[in-house]
Amino acid sequence: GDQVEQSPSALSLHEGTGSALRCNFTTTMRAVQWFRKNSRGSLINLFYLASGTKENGRLKSAFDSKERYSTLHIRDAQLEDSGTYFCAAEGTNTGKLTFGDGTVLTVKP
């Protein structure tokens, strides 16, 4: 079945720096979503992409269906960015949503 490999599983950043999370897909996906888990454990939507890139503040996401990956870039990381981030992708044929295993981001002073 469809697989989503999310990396890294854990990431530590100093305030003001940046990095990227990545999700690789084993099959062609028609859309990808990125989420962040809030302090109550609920998932908050960050991006929904069927193609191309989107930017929102210090976050930017890209999705390449043909190359089978999506990225989430964080720049100028702040302490409040700490949390767990998930990607989820929709199968082209099935429409089924498959989730990555999450990335625990820790931003340090």
Partner: protein, 114 residues
């Protein structure tokens, strides 16, 4: 790895009927969630549930929706009565904690309201 099971995978009902979606969460998990995804749209948070109580719910969690987990059995989402706009895939998730612990998702129940 840990699995969340959702039963059934697909359910078709007539508008106005009641429906109950069942979720069998990971056995030692304490936090439970429902999400809704309309075809072609992003998945949206509905509700989270801990210690027998709704902790947080979104605007999508209408008065016709209710959740419970009686005696540690299935975590359920009940819709009564259903409406056409309730047609969607509903995802259940669970986690061991409410903070940074990862969420484990079921494969979803596709609800079709006719």
């Amino acid at each position: 790895g840990p699995k969340v099971l959702q039963i059934p995978s697909h359910q078709i009902i007539d508008m106005g009927q009641m429906v109950t979606l069942n979720c069998d969460p990971v056995s030692n998990h304490l936090y439970f969630y429902w999400y809704k995804q309309i075809l072609g749209q992003q998945m949206e948070f509905l509700v989270n549930f801990y210690n027998g109580k709704v902790m947080e719910k979104s605007k999508l969690f209408k008065d016709q929706f209710s959740v419970e987990r009686p005696d540690g059995s299935y975590f359920t989402l009940k819709i009564q009565p259903t409406a056409l706009e309730d047609s969607a895939v509903y995802f259940c998730a669970s986690s061991s904690g409410g903070g940074a612990e990862t969420l484990y998702f079921g494969s979803g129940t596709r609800l079709t309201v006719l």
